[in-house]
Structures are given as structure tokens and as C-alpha cells.
């Protein structure tokens, strides 16, 4: 009996020991099996391009994330769109109080454009599929310059290569943008030369944009972007600007966006997000300035951009909302002019007309743009009118009326006189500033509603003149002043990246909304 027990106990002990520590079946268990694996993405060479759609969709977000990315910031600062209600007790980005507010202006593009680019870089796509990597680089520059223009220094050079990369100055970033565009255009031209159908086989299925998977069109978008960046630094670095601008228009490099290609925009198959923001949420309306200018000029595009106000106090006229005002009761302004978005409209990243206005300014500055400022200015207006499906360009180009004064029947002191005497009709005898104001004003109208570029150009040139906000909540920006930049997001940068933030602050002097940098006008 005793012997028997002993032997059984031994068996049991062995059984216990044997069951331990079989961990070989743990392999791969810690992943959700219904999500797609790297292995699954290697088939059909999908690994090369699968991150591209997400990058294109988040230069300007095609979802309602755009509300906190730029609708409540740059689109208001550009005088394009304005919400009828108030958010967070009216202390927010609309009233120039940006610290710790919505971080979307930083996170949307950083997380979906920059992080996906670095994932491609780490997967060595630049070696395996240089043409697809080139598309990623173009998206990266589109996204990157908007971040730099909005905030200032950005960790562009060492992005993703270390846990805390150095923050580059805007000057450094712009130089890197040009280099990235060099690489991208060369790679696309090489791919196109090797096999004109390379884009059809490898890229087309990833392209939700209006460029429809054509490498030649992407080259044109890249060149137009180069011209945009060149013109941006034309006042602070004329030599570099001239070199880059002339490189951009050189036909050997593939040309610029034109009527045939159209604007660069991205369509959301689920429907244009601004429609949701306008209808379902009642959160976005036309801003005062865009209506005052277009209505005053007799702009044929106005019915394409906006709908007449339905508020009885406005008698069926077009009327926008003065930016950054007090309107605690949403009902007060909710029936001012609605922006006329359609569900199928793409979200525009770069308007085709910009290509002409950039050349007009280049010519005005004495760069060799292959034409005169007037030619490009007038062509830009024609292209924009045509693109919006309206007519009347000839008559409009002769218009000599100015903008209208702003009349607010709800809050009397929000009304404002005419800000500028600028007119549409070109005047070859006028001075540089008058011509520049005409070019920028018309470019601003054509680019609506892409507020980040609109706001950047206002900050660079001071044009077109804007209505100041009425309820500023920032002591550094009292009544009558304009915001220059957004402060860095507290969570993602101030707290999570102290070393980089210190570098940025050192460059800027202060992380405040009134600080100007690089290409910006000082006042």
C-alpha cells in the first residue's frame, strides 16, 4: 500500500511538471486575427501602396475631423467659413485662445501622413517601389508645409528615426521640402520613362484623389507645390525662390496643374464631411469677408459657393458671419448664408487656379514664368470660374466695383465699413502692392474653402484685408489684431516632447499666437 502510494505520487508529480511551460503555441496569438497582417499585405505587392490612401485622406482630412483640424481655425482666420454658435464658452481657437484647445491641426496630419510615411520608409519602400514612395513624399510635403506654416518648427528631418527627433526651423524645413520634391519628381519621371503604365498597374487602385492615379498629374501637383513654396519665401529668400520657381515651371520637369488635370482634391466616398457639419450639425456657415468681397465684385461664382441667407432679417441676400464674435444663442446666426457644398464634392487640397496666380506673382516679382502677370492673373480667374461651372468671366474681368460694407442686422456693432478699394480689373499702370493685392485677393477667392493656404497667404502678404474678430480671448491679441500661428498642442508636444518643444520655443522666442516667423509679415 505504502509503496503504491509513493509510486502514484511520483507519477502525479511528473504529470504536473510535464504540463508546465508549453509556450510554443503562443506564437502570433497576441494579434487580432481579423485585422490584416503584414503577411496578408505582401500579396499582389500591396505592401508598397496600402498606406497611401490614408495619407492622401489626411492632408486636409476628408472626414469630419476637418472641423478641429482647420474649420474652427484656419478657415475662420482666412475669412472663409464661420460657425454660428459658440464652443467652450467662446474661449477657443476662433477667439484666438489656442493653447490646450483642439489638437487636430497637429494630430490629423502628423498621425496619418507623417507616421504612415515613416512606416513606408522603414519598410524600405523607397528601394522596392520608388514611384510609390515618391507619392508618399509628395503627400508628406503637402502635409508637412501646412504643419510648419501653422505652428513653426517641426521635427521633419529626423522624423521617426529616433524617439525624440530634433525640431527643424521653418527655414530648414522648407529646404527639406524642396529636396523631397526633387526626389519624388525624379522617381516618378523615371518610372514613367521606364513604363508609362507603371501607375496603372501599381498605383491607380490606391488613388482616391482627383489625380486618378496618373503619375504625370502627380508630377504636376508636385511642381505646383514647389511653386507655392517658392513664392512663399519670395520676400525672405528671393534667390532661392527664383531658382525653385523657375525649376517648377520648367517643362522638362513635367509642368504645372492646368485645366486638363484640374484641382488636386480627395473625394470621400462616404460623402463630403462639410455637408454633415453644415446640415446635421449646423456648425458651419459662410464667413463675412468672402461674401463682402464676392458680392461687391459681382462675382459669378457666389451662387456656386453659397446660398442666400434664409433669416428673414436679411431679405434673401447673401450674408456671412463676422468671425470670432459672441453668439451664445445659436439660433441668432444659424440662418445666415450656408456654404453650397454637395455630398459628392472632393475636399480640395490645391486648387488648379492657384497654379496661375502663383505664376502671376512670380512674374510680378521678375521671375521667368513664361508669361506676364496680367496673363496669368486673368487666366487664373477664367479657370476658376470655369471650374465652378459658371460663366461670365469676360464681364467679371472688367469689374471695377469694390467689396461691400458688412451689415449685421443682429448685432449692430459687428457691422463694418469697406476694408479695401481693391477691384477685379487689372491695372498694368498700378504699383506692385496694388497688383499683388489683386492677385492674392483673386487667389483667395479661387482657393475657398481651403483655409490653411488662405490664412498663410494672408499672413505673408496682408491680403486680402480681413474683418478682425469681435470677442478676442487672448490678451496678446487685443481687438483689431490678427492671429499669426497656433500654439503647439499641450499633450502631443509641450508635454510629450519637452526637448523638441524647447528647441521650437528657442527659435520662436515664445510659443504664443502673436509670434511671427520666417516668411510672415511682421504686423
Amino acid at each position: 500500500m505504502n509503496q503504491k502510494i509513493k509510486s502514484k505520487a511520483l507519477w502525479l508529480a511528473l504529470a504536473v511538471l510535464a504540463t508546465q511551460a508549453c509556450t510554443e503555441d503562443f506564437e502570433g496569438l497576441n494579434k487580432n486575427q481579423k485585422h490584416i497582417s503584414d503577411q496578408g499585405l505582401s500579396y499582389d505587392a500591396n505592401e508598397g501602396g496600402f498606406l497611401l490612401p490614408s495619407m492622401m485622406n489626411n492632408i486636409v482630412s476628408i472626414t469630419t475631423s476637418v472641423q478641429t483640424q482647420q474649420n474652427l481655425q484656419a478657415e475662420s482666420y482666412a475669412g472663409y467659413l464661420e460657425p454660428p454658435g459658440e464652443f467652450t464658452g467662446n474661449v477657443n481657437t476662433l477667439t484666438y485662445n489656442t493653447r490646450g484647445r483642439w489638437p487636430g491641426s497637429w494630430t490629423v496630419t502628423t498621425n496619418s501622413v507623417m507616421n504612415n510615411w515613416v512606416a513606408m520608409y522603414k519598410n524600405n519602400i523607397q528601394e522596392k517601389y520608388p514611384d510609390l514612395y515618391a507619392i508618399a513624399l509628395i503627400a508628406k510635403v503637402f502635409g508637412g508645409h501646412r504643419l510648419v506654416d501653422t505652428f513653426g518648427p517641426y521635427p521633419y528631418e529626423e522624423y521617426g528615426l529616433t524617439a525624440e527627433p530634433k525640431f527643424n526651423t521653418p527655414e530648414e524645413c522648407y529646404a527639406l521640402f524642396f529636396k523631397d520634391l526633387d526626389w519624388a519628381v525624379a522617381a516618378l519621371q523615371a518610372a514613367e520613362a521606364a513604363n508609362p503604365d507603371a501607375d496603372v498597374t501599381r498605383f491607380k487602385r490606391w488613388d482616391n484623389s482627383t489625380l486618378k492615379g496618373e503619375y504625370t498629374s502627380w508630377i504636376k501637383a508636385a511642381n505646383t507645390l514647389r511653386l507655392r513654396l517658392a513664392i512663399r519665401i519670395s520676400a525672405v529668400d528671393a534667390a532661392q525662390a527664383k531658382t525653385e520657381a523657375e525649376k517648377a515651371i520648367d517643362p522638362a520637369n513635367g509642368g504645372l496643374l492646368d485645366e486638363t488635370v484640374g484641382s488636386f482634391g480627395v473625394t470621400n466616398p462616404a460623402g463630403n464631411a462639410y455637408v454633415t457639419m453644415r446640415d446635421a450639425w449646423s456648425d458651419t456657415r459662410m464667413s463675412a469677408a468672402i461674401i463682402s468681397y464676392m458680392d461687391g465684385f459681382g462675382d459669378p461664382r457666389l451662387p456656386a459657393y453659397a446660398r442666400p441667407a434664409t433669416d428673414p432679417a436679411l431679405n434673401g441676400e447673401y450674408r456671412g458671419i463676422r468671425p470670432g464674435g459672441k453668439h451664445p444663442a445659436k439660433d441668432t446666426y444659424v440662418n445666415f448664408s450656408l456654404p453650397n457644398f454637395q455630398l459628392t464634392d472632393p475636399v480640395t487640397v490645391m486648387d488648379v487656379a492657384e497654379s496661375y496666380f502663383l505664376r502671376a506673382e512670380g512674374a510680378l516679382r521678375g521671375f521667368n514664368m513664361g508669361g506676364t502677370a496680367q496673363e496669368f492673373y486673368e487666366q487664373g480667374i477664367r479657370v476658376s470660374i470655369e471650374e465652378n461651372g459658371v460663366s461670365g468671366a469676360d464681364q467679371y474681368l472688367q469689374s471695377t466695383s469694390t467689396m461691400l460694407p458688412y451689415v449685421d442686422p443682429k448685432t449692430a456693432n459687428y457691422s463694418a465699413p469697406v476694408l479695401s478699394n481693391v477691384t477685379v480689373k487689372w491695372d498694368e499702370g498700378a504699383g506692385f502692392e496694388t497688383k499683388l493685392e489683386k492677385i492674392i485677393t483673386q487667389k483667395w477667392i479661387a482657393m475657398w474653402p481651403e483655409g490653411t493656404e488662405g490664412w498663410s497667404e494672408i499672413r505673408r502678404t496682408g491680403y486680402p484685408k480681413q474683418y478682425h474678430i469681435m470677442d478676442p480671448q487672448n490678451p496678446l491679441l487685443p481687438l483689431g489684431t490678427f492671429i499669426k500661428r497656433l500654439t503647439y498642442p499641450v499633450v502631443q508636444v509641450v508635454n510629450a516632447t519637452p526637448a523638441g518643444y524647447a528647441q521650437a520655443v528657442q527659435y520662436l522666442g515664445r510659443d504664443d499666437e502673436d509670434v511671427t516667423f520666417y516668411w510672415m509679415k511682421d504686423n
Binding site: I5, A9, W11, L12, A13, A15, V16, A18, T19, C22, T23, F26, L29, N30, K31, N32, Q33, H35, I36, S37, D38, L41, L51, P53, S54, N57, G85, E86, F87, T88, G89, V91, T110, N111, M114, N115, A119, K122, P155, Y156, E158, Y159, L161, T162, A163, E164, P165, A270, V275, A280, S282, D283, K330, D331, L343, V491, Q492, N495, A496, T497
Partner: protein, 1005 residues
């Protein structure tokens, strides 16, 4: 388990030893106490076997046994006796009371029974009588106030919603903080839905020391449930029925003097009550909205057995109609359990099946979106709700040939104001669930001191949830034709273990030890399809079907599996039955953790009273202390360096979001969270153990907290997982109980006291921010975990879990409040990061009383909660809309007088409520959650015995949440917006708490 291992196990079971079987004889007899009274329910076993019976009400028994065997008689609170049969057919036994200790048998980790005096840690037993006195649809609600160390927060909503239970404080920053439920020694999920009549007893193991053997899952403490098994040698039928009726315990108080409008001007269609004085104001529409809630719980159980085998079967039906019309809940519970000895009585086989099926219909939402409370509480004063009630809140729409929502107040004010009658009829949320639990165990008596037990349990569950929003619901999120969402999920938990247990005494030394191994496999899968926001609607109006989904509708699917394996061992060494040393160890392998991890525990207890001279005052003294470590395996996927990708609704791949921390070249290997806890306690018994006190001090530190941080800008990921912090929980638990006979009245009161202090001891340098944001976004308060030394600590040395921060009033150096010179309004801090207080209570104190007089019993539970804060979004909105009582009083007084200036009431309340958005004066909407309530009340009468057919009949009048003796908040402060870590300390348009009154009937046959 590999095949050969299984084979080995089977061989081991089959090769049980043979021995010579003597001739069975029938032994009968009577068991009585030392005073001669018969003892019923005494367990009688043939020594060394599982063959046994129990005594009946007259103390008589009858058993078949070999004539040369012995019988062992055991009875709680009495000294066990073993008597040799010696071929006698009649044996009467007298059992002596065990006066020296409270030596009840307690069930410990892994279902092993031990005498309570050998325990080195605190544990509290809750009897089924206590749990079942005043039943609620969810058994966990009945834990409130029943044991020290237990924090219960009522969940959001009505029947079917489980509360949040936390033992000894929150230990994990973003992980699970709720305890593990172990039924008959086996961990199970979904315990909240069990039939509480099946429970024999419930044991709370508050600390990690008691839980060390369950590993990862038990780091937050364990609730051990022992279920009814049936009785040897007798048949019983028990029927229990209860009916309870609910009414709102507390509704918001609103002003009825001022009508619809703004700035004192009337405004039809305006969704504000800042208009002129009116005479037809009434708040009746709020009370009238609710119906009387009904809860019926009926159960029947049969237990039976012969001298060897036992069986138990039960059925319970729970039917509830919530106070919100249309919200119904029903549940069926079936249990069958049987046990029998096999292989010549050497192996005890036990098996059970437990099936639960439940249906929740039309469960309402809480909060700003789609909650019926929102439109109801904020209904403009003076308008007539009667206009909007007909047709389920709808009106005939000639253009659409259908009924659409009848509500002039729909507008996007960062919320969705909808007709409450529309919501309960056209916004529906249904849930079906089922759960089946198969359990089998075999216990083999290898020798009288050695047993081996193998157990396996398979818990299979499925859930089916559907949400339907009728066409014309809230346009901010629902398209023109309505919206629909369907999720089907399910999974299983498969637990198996094998344990060899030895129990031997060598002179003064006793040893109780085991070694074992266990494995748990979890599988989970779900599939979700639905419309996507306002722009993506159904193909046809109100056609709620997957066929009606179109375009970029939401589709999500997941399938996950986790495996955990462990080997463990424990030993309790006793000396002279008064000194006990307890040692445990466990090594664990988890599929979510890169490396195996090990953790031990050690404990010591000393029954001092054994060494005291006999006296009439102190009858029992036990000192105990223990130290334990527990690891908590990582969240699924956290340590994965290359997780799989998801796709968005357009079919685009979404880049990776969170990855383990990456320093540029290296990725860290995440470690499991580890709780190290120390506890000391004393158990005292006085006056022959009629007065008992136990006090425990504990100190548990949880290190290597696993959570996500925002990745540094430019690092290439949006979030990183790190091991990043240390949280300490210290506290005291005390229980005092007394039992005294005054003539024919027996009084047995008990008091529980619970105090926990939480400290954030450290946050990793990898988190470069000065704080970890646990929750933000409720517009009133943020929950930050602050690093020691942070300026925001407001002079405190450490921050605590659930600290609340917001905008505070400003004061000058002399303590005078500061006001805006222009407007006269109080100045607020620039940022909403000022310390306001903590959501957790300072301490809990409850007082349980039971009186018995002849056939009557009276019991009540007074429960109190002291300290802790709750922010109320409801109150913020009521101020903004001019509906709060104080906003009416301010208007009566001509405005709000501040600092000698009178400020227009509307201006003032718009300002402090920030129009119900961010930037409000947080302090105005923070309420002290101190309250004392009569939580349970029961008055019962047991009918005198009038026939032999019926064993007993008991009728009781029962009530829950009868009233508050004291409270500060204008709502029930124990309601939380949800049961997650981040939703504590916040109230937001929730279903009010119920006051329930009813009857219960128990019949035993």
C-alpha cells in the same frame, strides 16, 4: 494538454487501489448537542470515503457502512467526532460546542477548505440569507454594505446593468480594477447574472494574499462563491418568490415660476426657461414620465440525495419592468448539479451545468445623446408636454407618409435634445445574451492524507445587441431614414487545473500542502455592422436590417485568443494548532507577456488565545500578517511589436496607432503590473465569542503600471505602451459583530468600516508630461494622475486616483475672492487644471441589524458613505437652461448678489455653467457624495408548522433604498456615469435610483 498527459491522468484515476470490502450494515442513530437538543444537518461520513449522509430535523440519521469502518460526525461550531462502528447498528452521538474559537471552515483559493484559524489574511463571509433577504435583479448589488473593504458603485441604468465592485481601492491606472469571481473553486465570467438562490455562501477575499494562487486575474481580490450541492440522505424543495415595486428615489428639483424664453422675454419654441413669470408652471411632466417599476424573481430548487450521491436542480425566473416605460428585462437560470462517488467510492465525481439566458429590451441611454432624461429634465417651463406625448412622441408627416418626431426643440447644442416619448418608442437598444457553464471535477482520495483533484470548466457565452434609431431621430448622428447597429459577439473561457493536496499531522505539527498546474484559454469574437453617422443612413426608412446598409457603413470584426498557464504550490504548516505559516508560489506563462513571471506569498498567524488562561472575557485572539505579490498579465496586444492593421469604412488601411515604447533603436519589453501587498490583522472574540472584532491594515503597492502615453512628436507612432507608474493603496477594514439574547429577542448587529487611501507614488520619466490624463471631456472635470512634486498638487505630497481637476474661483493672498471689475462676475482660473477634490469616499460605514422574536425577524441595513465628490452635468444644464431651482430663486431676488453687486441671473448662470460647455466653474457643479441611507429593510414572519408536508413558510415585507437619512447632493451620489475607470465621479442625465418596496415568500417542502 497533450494526449499522453491526458492518458496518464486517466490511468491514474483508473488504477485506484483495491482493498478488501467488508459487509455493509445499516447504522442508525441520533445526534444531539451538549444540552440534549437534537442537531439537524450534521454531516456524517464513513471515514476516509465520500460516502455520507446528514441528520434530519429530529437529529436522526441512517447510513450504510462496512461494519469494521468508522463514522465521522462534523457540524459547524462543534468539535468533530470519529466513532468506530464495530458492527453496531445504533450509534448516538453528542457533539460538544467548540468554545475556544470561531473555527468555521472557510473556502479558500482553489476551492480548498481550511479552518479559519489557519488563515493569515482577512476574509469576510456573506451568508446566502444576507444576500437573499432583499433581492435585486443583479446579485452584486446586494454586496453593498455587506463586507468591509468592498466599494460598490451602481452602474448606469436599470435592471441588467452590473455595478462596479472594487476591493481595497483602485490598483491599476487603465487596466481592470474589478475582482475575480470564483464559483466552487473555478474562475467564471458573468457572475452578475447568476441565480442568487444557488449560492450557499459568498466569501470576499479582499487582498492579494488570498488571491495569489489565482494569478493574474486575481490581483484585485477575489469573490468566492460556494453553491448548493444538495444534501446526503434527504430531499428538499425550496420555493422563493419576491415582488418589488420601484419608484424614483430622487428627481431633480426645478423652478416652476419662470417660463419659456430668453432675457425675461417670452419665446415660443425657445428651448430656454429664462422668460417672464408664468402662472401655469409645473414639474409634473417629470414625475408623470416614469412608470412604477416591477421586479419579480421566482425560483424553485430541488435537492436530494441518498447516502452516496447528491443532486441539486434549480430554476429561477427574473422579470423586471424598469421605471422607464418600455425598458424590460428578463432572465432564466437553470442549474443541474450532481455528485457521486465512483471507483469503489475512492473518487468523488462532481458535475454541473448552468445555463443563463437573458433579454434586455429597449434599454435607455444616459448622457447628452439619446437619453430620455435629457429632453425630459430640460423641457422648457410652461410648455405642455401633453402636446408631444401622443403617438409615441410622433406626428403624422404627410410628405413622408409616416410618423416623425414631434419636437420643436431639436437643435445641436453640443447635445441632442429629443422628445423623451420618441426616444422610448423609436430609439431602441435590445440585448440578448446566454451563458452556459459546464463544470466537471474528480477528487481522488489516494490516502486518508492525500488527494488529487482534476477540474475543468467551460464557460461559453454569446451576446447579440441591436440599436435602432427611427427616421427623424437626432439629425447630428442619425440619417434621414434612421440608423441601425448590430453586434454579435461571443466567446469562451476554458479553465482546467490539477492539484495534489496533502494533509498530515506529525505530533504537534500539521501540514497542509498542495502542488498543481492550471491552464486558462480565452476566446473572443465579434462582428459589428451598422450605419455610419448622419450621412450614412438606411436604404428605406425604418427598415432595420443588414440588407438596408449601404455605401460606407461600419463593419468591424475581431477574433482574439489568450492562453495562460501556471504551476503553483502552497504549504500551510501548523504547530499545536495555534501557530500557522503559509507559503505560496506561482509561475505563470501568458500569451500576452514575453517572459514567464513568478510571484510568491508568505503569511503567519498565531492564535494567541490558546496560550491565554481560561477567562470569561476574552475568548479568542488571533494575530495574523501576510505579504504577497501578484503579477497582472498585459492587456491583449500591448506588447506586440507588429500588430495587424485595421481598415476604415472606405477600405483604406489605418496606420498603427499604439506600439510598445520605442527609443529609436530599441523596443522595450513590457513587464506585467505587479502588486506587492502587506497586511496585518487581529481577530478578537469576547464573552464566549458573542462579541467579535476584526481589524485589518493593508498596504498594497502596484508597480510597473501599464498604460499608453502620447508618443513624442516625430517618433513615428501616435501612442506608446509603457511600464510607467506606481500606485499605493493603504487602508483599514474593520468588522464588529455582536449577538445577544434578551429574553425572547435575539439581537445581532454588525458594523463594517472601510477606509482606503490611494497615492500616486511615481510616474515614469518616459511619460514626459507632468500628469497622466485618465479622463477629460465631460466639460466639468478632468481626471489627472499627478507626479509627486507637481505644482498642481496644491500642496499635497501625492496625488490620488480619481482626483478631479477643473476651473476654480480665484482668491487674493488674503483669501478674498476675486471678481471681474467690469462685469462683477467671479474670476476663474485660466486653465481647467485646478485641484477640486477626489471622487472616492474617505470611508464607508455600515450598520446591519437583525432582531428575532419568536417567529418574527426584522433586519435593516444602514449604509453610509463619507466624503468623495461627484460632478453633475445635469445640474450644469439646468442652470444654463434657467430651470434649476436656484436660478428661479435668483430671479425672484432680482439677480445674484456677488461682492455687493447685483448681477443679472441669466448672465450669471450662463457664465458659471459656460452654457453647459467647457470652461464652467467646476466647483459649482461638484457635490459631496456623503450620504446615509436605509439600504435594506426586511420584516419576516415564519408560519408555525401546521403540516408535515410543508417544512416552513416565511413571508417578508422587504424594501431597498427606502430613504436618505442624510445627503448633500441633489441626486443619488452613488450613481456613476458608467462602471469604467474614467467614468467615476460624474453624473450625467441618468435614470434615477429606485426606491423599491415589496414582498417575498419562501416555502420549504
Amino acid at each position: 494538454m497533450k494526449k499522453w498527459q491526458l492518458f496518464l491522468l486517466m490511468c491514474l484515476f483508473l488504477s485506484s487501489s483495491s482493498y478488501v470490502m467488508a459487509q455493509d450494515i445499516t447504522v442508525t442513530g441520533r445526534v444531539s448537542g451538549s444540552d440534549g437538543t437534537p442537531l439537524s444537518n450534521v454531516s456524517i461520513f464513513v471515514t476516509g470515503t465520500n460516502q455520507g449522509t446528514s441528520t434530519n430535523d429530529q437529529g436522526n440519521y441512517s447510513i450504510h457502512a462496512p461494519g469494521n469502518a468508522s463514522l465521522t460526525f462534523t457540524y459547524i461550531g462543534h468539535v468533530s467526532q470519529t466513532v468506530a462502528i464495530n458492527n453496531r447498528t445504533s450509534i448516538n452521538v453528542t457533539l460538544e460546542e467548540d468554545a475556544t474559537s470561531l473555527d468555521e471552515v472557510v473556502v479558500t483559493a482553489l476551492g480548498i477548505e481550511r479552518s479559519s484559524k489557519s488563515l493569515t489574511y482577512n476574509t469576510t463571509k456573506v451568508s446566502s440569507e444576507e444576500l437573499n433577504a432583499v433581492k435585486s435583479p443583479n446579485v452584486l448589488n446586494n454586496l453593498a454594505g455587506r463586507a468591509a473593504g468592498v466599494f460598490v458603485t451602481q452602474g448606469d441604468g436599470g435592471p441588467g446593468a452590473a455595478p462596479r465592485i472594487v476591493l481595497r481601492g483602485n490598483k491599476s491606472i487603465t487596466g481592470n480594477n474589478q475582482p475575480l469571481y470564483v464559483v466552487d473553486g473555478i474562475p467564471v465570467g458573468g457572475f452578475a447574472d447568476f441565480n442568487q438562490e444557488d449560492i450557499e455562501s459568498l466569501q470576499v477575499l479582499q487582498g492579494a494574499s488570498a488571491a495569489a494562487l489565482y494569478g493574474s486575474q486575481a490581483a484585485n481580490g477575489v469573490i468566492l462563491i460556494t453553491t448548493k450541492k444538495g444534501k446526503l440522505g434527504s430531499t428538499e424543495v425550496n420555493v422563493a418568490s419576491s415582488a418589488m415595486f420601484d419608484n424614483p428615489m430622487l428627481l431633480p428639483e426645478i423652478q416652476t415660476t419662470y417660463g419659456q424664453g430668453l432675457d425675461g422675454e417670452p419665446g415660443t419654441g425657445t428651448n430656454d426657461s429664462w422668460g417672464p413669470k408664468i402662472t401655469n408652471g409645473s414639474d409634473a411632466h417629470i414625475k408623470d414620465f416614469f412608470r412604477t417599476g416591477e421586479n419579480y424573481i421566482n425560483s424553485v430548487s430541488i435537492s436530494s440525495g441518498n447516502d452516496k450521491s447528491r443532486m441539486y436542480a434549480s430554476y429561477a425566473n427574473t422579470t423586471a419592468k424598469a421605471m422607464i416605460p418600455g425598458y424590460d428585462y428578463s432572465r432564466h437560470n437553470f442549474t443541474v448539479r450532481g455528485s457521486t462517488p465512483i471507483f469503489r467510492d475512492k473518487v468523488q465525481l462532481d458535475a454541473s451545468i448552468n445555463y443563463i439566458k437573458g433579454v434586455t429590451e429597449n434599454r435607455n441611454f444616459s448622457g447628452w445623446y439619446n437619453s430620455p432624461m435629457f429632453g425630459l429634465y430640460l423641457f422648457p417651463m410652461g410648455d405642455d408636454m401633453g402636446k408631444y406625448m401622443p403617438n409615441g412622441g410622433a406626428v403624422w408627416n404627410e410628405a413622408r407618409l409616416m410618423y416623425t418626431q414631434n419636437w420643436p426643440y431639436i437643435r445641436n447644442e453640443h447635445s441632442s435634445n429629443q422628445n423623451p416619448y420618441w426616444i422610448i418608442n423609436q430609439i431602441q437598444r435590445d440585448q440578448n445574451f446566454s451563458r452556459t457553464n459546464f463544470m466537471t471535477s474528480a477528487k481522488w482520495d489516494i490516502a486518508d492524507w492525500l488527494t488529487a483533484t482534476g477540474r475543468t470548466t467551460l464557460n461559453i457565452y454569446s451576446r447579440d445587441e441591436e440599436e435602432r434609431f427611427g427616421a427623424s431621430s437626432d439629425p447630428t448622428s442619425v440619417g434621414a431614414n434612421g440608423s441601425y447597429n448590430k453586434e454579435i459577439s461571443g466567446g469562451q473561457e476554458w479553465f482546467s487545473d490539477f492539484i495534489v493536496n496533502a494533509n498530515k499531522t506529525f505530533g504537534d505539527i500539521s501540514l497542509n500542502a498542495f502542488v498543481g498546474t492550471s491552464q486558462t484559454i480565452w476566446n473572443f469574437h465579434n462582428l459589428e455592422n451598422g450605419t455610419n453617422g448622419a450621412q450614412n443612413t438606411l436604404i428605406f426608412p425604418n427598415y432595420f436590417s443588414a440588407y438596408a446598409l449601404q455605401g460606407n457603413f461600419i463593419r468591424r470584426e475581431s477574433k482574439t485568443k489568450e492562453i495562460n498557464r501556471a504551476v503553483m504550490g502552497a504549504a500551510t504548516l501548523g504547530w499545536q494548532d495555534k501557530l500557522f505559516l503559509d507559503v505560496t508560489a506561482r509561475n505563470e506563462w501568458s500569451s500576452t507577456v514575453d517572459d514567464a513571471f513568478f510571484y510568491p506569498s508568505v503569511g503567519l498567524s498565531y492564535v494567541l488565545s490558546e496560550d491565554l488562561p481560561q477567562n470569561d472575557v476574552v475568548s479568542h485572539v488571533k494575530l495574523r500578517g501576510s505579504y504577497a505579490e501578484v503579477g497582472n498579465s498585459l492587456p491583449f496586444g500591448a506588447s506586440e511589436r507588429a500588430p495587424n492593421y485595421t481598415l476604415d469604412v472606405n477600405g483604406n488601411i489605418v496606420g498603427r496607432g499604439a506600439l510598445p515604447f520605442f527609443s529609436g533603436t530599441d523596443t522595450i519589453s513590457l513587464q506585467p503590473e505587479r502588486t506587492k501587498s502587506l497586511e496585518f490583522g487581529v481577530d478578537l472574540g469576547f464573552f464566549n465569542n458573542s462579541l467579535n472584532l476584526n481589524v485589518t491594515y493593508y498596504n498594497a503597492t502596484t508597480e510597473d503600471q501599464v498604460f499608453q502615453i502620447t508618443a513624442p512628436a516625430g517618433s513615428g507612432a501616435s501612442n506608446f505602451w509603457i511600464n510607467g507608474g506606481t500606485i499605493q493603496n493603504m487602508g483599514i477594514e474593520a468588522g464588529l459583530s455582536y449577538r445577544k439574547q434578551f429574553g425572547q429577542v435575539t439581537w445581532s448587529p454588525s458594523v463594517n468600516f472601510t477606509r482606503n487611501t490611494n497615492r500616486i507614488k511615481q510616474l515614469s520619466d518616459l511619460l514626459s508630461a507632468d500628469r497622466f490624463v485618465l479622463n477629460s471631456g465631460n466639460r466639468l472635470t478632468n481626471m489627472y494622475l499627478l507626479r509627486p512634486g507637481s505644482d498642481l498638487l496644491n500642496g499635497r505630497k501625492y496625488g490620488a486616483y480619481h482626483d478631479l481637476f477643473g476651473k476654480s474661483y480665484q482668491y487674493d493672498e488674503n483669501g478674498n475672492q476675486l471678481f471681474d471689475e467690469e462685469t462683477g462676475l467671479p474670476l476663474l482660473s485660466a486653465v481647467d487644471d485646478q485641484f477640486i477634490g477626489n471622487a472616492n469616499p474617505d470611508f464607508l460605514l455600515n450598520w446591519n441589524n437583525q432582531f428575532t422574536y419568536k417567529n418574527f425577524t426584522l433586519s435593516f441595513l444602514l449604509d453610509s458613505r463619507w466624503g468623495g465628490l461627484v460632478a453633475s452635468s445635469t445640474e450644469q444644464w439646468l442652470d444654463y437652461k434657467g430651470l434649476s431651482k436656484r436660478s428661479g430663486e435668483a430671479r425672484d431676488a432680482g439677480g445674484v448678489v456677488l461682492n455687493g453687486r447685483t448681477i443679472d441671473a441669466q448672465t450669471y448662470y450662463y457664465y458659471i455653467s459656460a452654457a453647459a460647455d467647457y470652461n464652467a466653474a467646476s466647483q459649482e457643479y461638484i457635490f459631496d457624495s456623503t450620504n446615509i441611507r436605509l439600504r435594506e429593510f426586511a420584516l419576516g414572519y415564519t408560519l408555525p408548522k401546521f403540516t408535515d408536508r410543508i417544512r416552513s413558510i416565511n413571508v417578508s415585507l422587504i424594501a431597498r433604498n427606502l430613504f436618505f437619512l442624510y445627503k448633500k447632493a441633489p441626486f443619488d451620489p452613488e450613481l456613476a456615469y458608467g462602471t469604467t475607470n474614467g467614468s467615476q465621479g460624474f453624473e450625467n442625465f441618468q435614470t434615477p435610483s429606485a426606491r423599491s418596496i415589496g414582498l417575498s415568500l419562501r416555502v420549504g417542502l
